[in-house]
Symmetry: C2
Subunit: 894 residues, 2 copies
């Protein structure tokens, strides 16, 4: 016969922690504590199977449920020596819902159930506090009426307010016992008026009403929506936990509090917590009274004048401290506990894994591993990789005062202050010439702004999403960025930034928090990150576990050095186009684009060659023999041409042509869908001389660095946007020809690899053929996502949030890899590529390379490495280690 | 032992027509004719295996080759009673290369081989014509020196010119026998000078030199490139055919000519051909002398004053006519034959399937089937579906005079004349108010121009490719269009069209030939198509064979009626957006876009509803119960907003807002990559009211037409750009809700289907899930090609031609389906979709739906129907029948 009810309390329980599916999270945890011999107010849990039965059988209960509940209730009564509904010393209970996963939309708690016109008198007498008893009763009526009888709270609030007004009472605390008693009468009248029958006096009727309300709430609209959005099946059902009430507000031998087994801010292995004497749980949360520290050390640290629990309740403190060790030892993690002391008796109401700051999480994990409480692997699994980000960037001093101006998207983490400038040119001038620190403020940024973005302390844009140009570039640079802060209005002409009634002028200081998206007026002090100690220790453990290599996307010496500092094992993506925006180079680049003949282009490219060679030589030198993957020119040429009139004139002058020529060329290069246009290897096919120059720069630099440093440099030449094998064949042949020329000229031969991005669905499908030529694949998941979804990163802003709100996308597919769609193409390409060439090296270099769930996917798909922005390298290392340890499967957009 | 040499001639042959791989096309065909007992100058073929041996063995020949060649030569000598190298009656031979497939870049023919200083005298004596003999000799020296000895032709031409100049000779025909003799001496001197040794006098040395040159040419650069581009393996090799020379220029009992077994222009079953007495093959081709007709009927038809062969060589004519029947009967197709008569003896030099006009092809196929020569299925296989196009559109009168202005792309077939106008508005005014016929000339067209495009006789654009807006829309309308005619300069302000030194003013007449891309000054008379007779007969046969249904892409009543006339079995794609550009509707459409609230949008949509309902009612009525697939709104909303200042003002006025509001909305809707932007079902998700209005219009119209006509109307509602199942679920639910409302309101229930376009790679991959909801898939191969290749139709112009020229694409993937890439996604989607829902209806509605090779693919992939523009329906029907009959596999871009 199915067991529908599980008892707990009194040092034993019928359930266990691993019975969450049956008892819900709350019920299972209460059972577990009981089994550990920890004092828990006794109670029982009605299983989730009852909920399923209830809905499968026309909202009726199993036959034997009533008997089982009565038996369980009798066990509670016996344990406490009180009777449910008793008129002299009544047992009061709380009723709570509890699903497998915490679920908003489910029924709130009902407290103090079991009070009626008679038992309230018993409670008054027994507690010696009629005010407490009637206050408890009116709270119960209010709560029960709202949740079970569906009589809105405002009905009762109006009565209370009217009473307070009539009696000139200001605060609830000034309402006396008699007032509460009168109010209870008025409340009951209101219930009768609304309901057509009196407030239930039968405590069993009360109990079954509450149980029914819990099960009913499982199918309310909010809960259904929540489940649909989170893919929680309706068949899971909810449990109901009924538990004896204990009170921390029955006198000065009572108290209530919360405590942590270790310090949740610092992670220090020290007991930490707060409590209030003669108070209820809400009072601690509400913050009306200043809480007292649990320990003497805590008291000293807080400079508190109030006595600690260690002082005022030494016995209870000792008991609580023992429970702290017991629970942490049992759960093997830092615990967040709630307790109530009723008349000097300690009751534990809840324990759960405590939330903590990232630095605390690191310290706790490392120390627990050292203490032998957990293994190093477990320690590694404990840290949320994404949370590491806050350790790698400056953060706002939490104690500093701040004036929030507005909020945008947290596009690139870290905090920074600086003077507002409105153009990339100004940023460069102010920083280089005037030695100012600046925040670059733009409506949106474009590749032309790259110089200014590099020198700025932070970047603020008023348009664009998490994957806008500003966001992507800023993350790559590790520069704090708030993007798409749409409440701001930028007035370029007047050099003003407006939000609401506030106006910020050029040169005024603002502060950005790129981790929260907040923008502050003035300078807010920041705290610099440290990457030593526990962080370094954990990362050492991480590196012994992971099998995926981690590289960085980097093109400047600074990026490359940062990448090395963060533990990158090579460069997975060097975007050569970023190298052409330097003022000295952009002129030659534009000259190349404006040239009408191959000879003209070659002349201009010859001017770029020494710069490119030096770029690569620098990277090879910094990377000290680690692999460097260089992607040949990718963006359409029009991105390099100026848009503004004065710039057009300048370019025309430099090129010795009329401005109309520049405009005409710009118009001719205009594209309707540049993402799908004349770019990537299509440039290499139509203008072979461009890739030839880049290949020459790569091989000359490799030979040079090899000679200078004696280290082996093995460049990986990567061709973007391949869609057919023939493209790759043609370009690989040309690269091999250049290599042979350089080796002949220099008399030195070096190893190198030619490979391709897989960023088009066709390339993924034809990977078997393409791998005949390609020595490596790097999945360009940004473009692969764009093409697989037929969705532009730049243009998805207006609907992607609607898609997420409506539950069509679980996650932004540009941030977290779509494993079922884009992922299938990656798996197909990996399989077919490796079938042709078993030694094929596979990596990923899109934004997803730094996303933990995407990294887990990469591990599963058999990739060799992930490549991400330098500042995400530690995150990727940790995520890779966790992926190697297995665990939860990935997610995907359905 | 391998046989290396195959003899033919004298009424027998060692080879056969099906031995093309071994003997090459030419050798196999000569063998076949010999076997048929047809007089063929005897000869032999050295097999392709010798070529392979030659390259596998350091350019040496198999041991036994020499013996086999000598034996074969002896057979030729015996057959003709002449000796190779004989000084009194020499056997002369031609040497030709011959691969499996005709291959440019291979060695040219060498004629008259076997002549030397002695045999030339024998030839002179035997023929009684020393001039003929020495002319033949000098031609041989020239040809052999050029091809085998690599001495440029110019060397000999200079000598000839100098001689003619010195002797004041104008024409080659005035060069006398003695002159040729002298020249032969000078030619030989030049050879000796260049070569360091004399011109070979040993005829066997001549023969082996020529054979070596043929094999050598197999590996020359041009041949290698050609093979690479056409995927012909080098291992195939070439054969060498050596054949006895016969001469049609040895006197008046000699002649040479070409003839066809049926008339290649009309297809009439009448012997047709031309010949010249005492002439060489080149003379017929060169057109210096007027050829004579073969038959008396031909003579009468041509009003020729020259005697026919039937008259002057009645015996030979009878023999030739008998061969005509024999060869046509044998090959079962109209033959194109070459012959030479030497001293009253008929020799057949070649027979091959004759080229013919499309109307001739139709007549021949239908008549041959009626004659029982071929089956109806074979008749259907004989017609090139693409060629049908010229029968469906007006064509230029071939006899009419014309002045070509320039040439663009043949974007939409047919010919048309009209007065030049430069804007869509002008086109409408001129046609509607002034009753003029116009040609709309634009740099490029946009959806706003649709009204003017509809009324124009033809459309000319100076920018854009075969899949530009103008081209796609024109093909859909069946309007002739020349696109991307880049030599023209359009001056909108001055209303001028310029090309070279010619200027065409507004109102001047031009003529377009959309089948060739030519643009003519003035009016060129056209011929209207007829679709009766043989055409109708063949299409009847076609429809009994094919299994694929053929639908049309149509949205206007005119399109739908045309589609029916051409045999469409339903509408596969009704693009509802085209319906909103009508001036009466565009205002409401823009009002909808400018509305800031859902209520505002609903008000505007309510105005559009009656129009949409009438649109659909018209289509349902015309289609008489055939299926009609209606695609809900697809393009991004900014396409409906005006760009020009005066239009913006107009819209602002109509909407009662400031022009700045219109501009701001336009700017807000601007997209970087509109193809990948806020369009398709993304509009349906963000603005559900739009699709709700469209669904209502569909169901109300279906109910109305059902009531009015009594016919069952089963609308197919198609949702574009689906990428995830949830999108489709949400929108299908909304459509079902609207349907239920309409059925309730009208008291009538009708059947309908909800399905989706598969036009994104993700949709193809997730087809199994999507088919849980979708009742049909229609492959939108335009967008699927764009996303699979990551290539925009609009932007691929600048590189796609380079790609084709470099052999990266065999065909434009937007015109002919990429079967290995895009095709794999279609196969995946079809398989996964049908696995979920076996009854899933599958169709294709991209431009590829009218492309024969793509249709063959669709048959193979198990699709139910193809849908194409109305004017391509007959082509698709024929291609579908051919696909059902099987045959050649498809092509694909590698």
């Amino acid at each position: 016969m199915t067991k529908w009810v599980y008892s707990f309390g009194g040092g034993r329980a019928e359930g266990r922690a691993d019975m969450k599916n049956l008892l819900g999270g709350k019920g299972a945890n209460l059972a577990e504590m009981s089994n550990l011999g920890i004092p828990v107010p006794p109670g029982f849990t009605i299983t989730t199977e009852v909920c399923t039965y209830y809905y499968d059988n026309g909202q009726t209960y199993p036959e034997t449920l009533k008997t089982e509940v009565l038996e369980a209730l009798a066990h509670v009564e016996a344990t406490l020596g009180k009777k449910f509904g008793d008129t002299s010393d009544p047992l009061l209970v709380s009723v709570r819902s509890g699903a497998r996963a915490s679920m908003p939309g489910m029924m709130d708690t009902i407290l103090n159930l079991g009070l009626n016109d008679l038992s309230v008198e018993g409670l008054a007498k027994k507690s010696g506090d009629p005010r407490f008893a009637y206050d408890s009763y009116r709270r119960f009526i209010q709560m029960y009426s709202n949740v079970v009888l569906e009589i809105g709270l405002h009905n009762f609030e109006e009565i209370l307010e009217a009473h307070k007004h009539a009696h000139n009472i200001k605060l609830d605390t000034d309402v006396a016992a008699d007032d509460w008693k009168k109010l209870v009468g008025l409340y009951k009248d209101k219930v009768k008026e609304k309901l057509g029958r009196p407030f239930p006096q039968d405590v069993h009727e009360q109990l079954w009403g509450a149980v029914g309300a819990v099960f009913g709430s499982w199918m309310n609209a909010r809960a259904i929506t929540y489940r649909r959005l989170h893919d929680i099946p309706g068949s899971w059902g909810t449990a109901v936990s009924v538990q004896a009430m204990v009170f921390g507000n029955m006198g000065n031998d009572c108290s209530t509090g919360v405590c942590f087994s270790r310090n949740p801010s610092t992670g220090e292995n020290a007991f930490y917590g707060e409590f209030l004497v003669n108070a209820q749980g809400e009072d601690v949360v509400a913050g009306i009274r200043t809480p007292q520290q649990i320990t003497n050390i805590g008291k000293a640290a807080q400079n508190s004048e109030l006595p600690s629990m260690e002082e005022v309740m030494p016995e209870v403190f000792r008991e609580l401290n023992a429970i702290r060790f017991k629970l942490e030892g049992h759960y093997k993690d830092m615990q967040d506990m709630e307790f109530t002391v009723q008349q000097n008796r300690l009751w534990m109401l809840q324990t759960r894994t405590g939330k903590r700051t990232t630095s605390a999480a690191l310290r706790i994990a490392v120390e627990m591993a050292r203490e032998g409480l957990i293994t190093r692997k477990e320690a590694v699994k404990r840290i949320d990789p994404s949370a590491l980000d806050q350790l790698l960037h400056p953060t706002l001093d939490p104690k500093a005062k701040r004036t929030v101006l507005s909020k945008g998207l947290p596009a690139s983490p870290g905090a920074a202050s600086g003077k507002v400038v409105f153009s990339a040119e100004d940023a460069e001038t102010w920083v280089n010439d005037r030695k100012e620190k600046v925040i670059l403020v733009r409506i949106e940024t474009s590749p032309e702004d790259i110089g200014g973005m590099h020198v700025a302390e932070g970047i603020l844009t008023t348009r664009g999403g998490m994957t806008s140009h500003a966001a992507v570039v800023a993350r790559g640079m590790g520069t704090p960025c708030v993007a798409g802060a749409g409440e701001f209005r930028v007035d370029y002409a007047a050099r003003l930034l407006k939000v609401g009634s506030t106006t910020v002028k050029e040169g005024e200081v603002i502060t950005l928090d790129g981790s929260t998206g907040e923008v502050f007026l003035g300078a807010v002090p920041t705290i610099q990150p440290e990457m030593t100690g526990d962080f370094a220790t954990l990362m050492e453990w991480v590196d012994t576990i992971r099998t995926l290599k981690v590289r960085a996307n980097a093109e400047t010496p600074l990026d490359a050095a940062t990448a090395r500092k963060f533990g990158a094992e090579g460069i997975g993506l060097c975007r050569t186009e970023h190298m052409f925006f330097d003022p000295k180079r952009i002129i030659a680049m534009r000259e190349m684009i404006l040239a009408e003949t191959e000879a003209g282009r070659r002349t201009a490219l010859a001017k770029l060659l020494p710069y490119q060679r030096q770029d690569f030589a620098d990277l090879f030198t910094i990377m000290q023999g680690l692999p460097v993957t260089i992607r040949l020119l990718d963006p359409p040429l029009h991105e390099f041409l100026p848009q503004k009139d004065d710039e057009i004139d300048e370019v025309a002058k430099a090129a010795g042509v009329d401005a109309s020529v520049v405009r005409a060329r710009s118009a001719a290069l205009h594209e309707t869908n540049p993402m799908l246009g004349h770019r990537g290897c299509r440039l290499g096919i139509t203008y072979p001389e461009i890739y030839e120059m880049q290949a020459r720069a790569i091989f000359e630099a490799a030979v040079q660095v090899n000679r200078e440093t004696g280290r082996t440099v093995v460049p990986e030449v990567m061709i973007p946007l391949i869609g057919t094998k023939k493209e790759l064949d043609m370009l690989a042949t040309s690269i091999n020809t250049v290599a042979a020329e350089v080796f002949k000229e220099t008399g030195q031969q070096i190893s190198y690899h030619v490979g391709t991005m897989i960023e088009l669905p066709r390339a993924a499908l034809l990977a078997g053929e393409i791998a005949e030529t390609a020595e490596f694949f790097s999945f360009g998941t940004n473009d692969l996502t764009q093409t697989t979804f037929g969705m532009s990163r730049d243009d998805s802003g207006p609907f992607i949030e609607v898609y997420r709100a409506k539950g069509i996308y679980d996650a932004d597919p540009f941030a977290s890899l779509d494993q079922v769609g884009v992922g299938e193409l990656i798996r197909i390409a990996a399989e077919r590529g490796r079938a042709t060439r078993p030694s094929l090296k596979l990596g990923i270099c899109g934004e997803h390379g730094g996303d933990p769930s995407s990294i887990r996917f990469c591990q599963g798909a058999g990739l060799d490495y992930v490549s991400c922005s330098p500042f995400r390298v530690p995150i990727a290392r940790l995520a890779a280690a966790q992926a190697a340890l297995g665990g939860e499967g990935g997610s995907g957009t359905k």
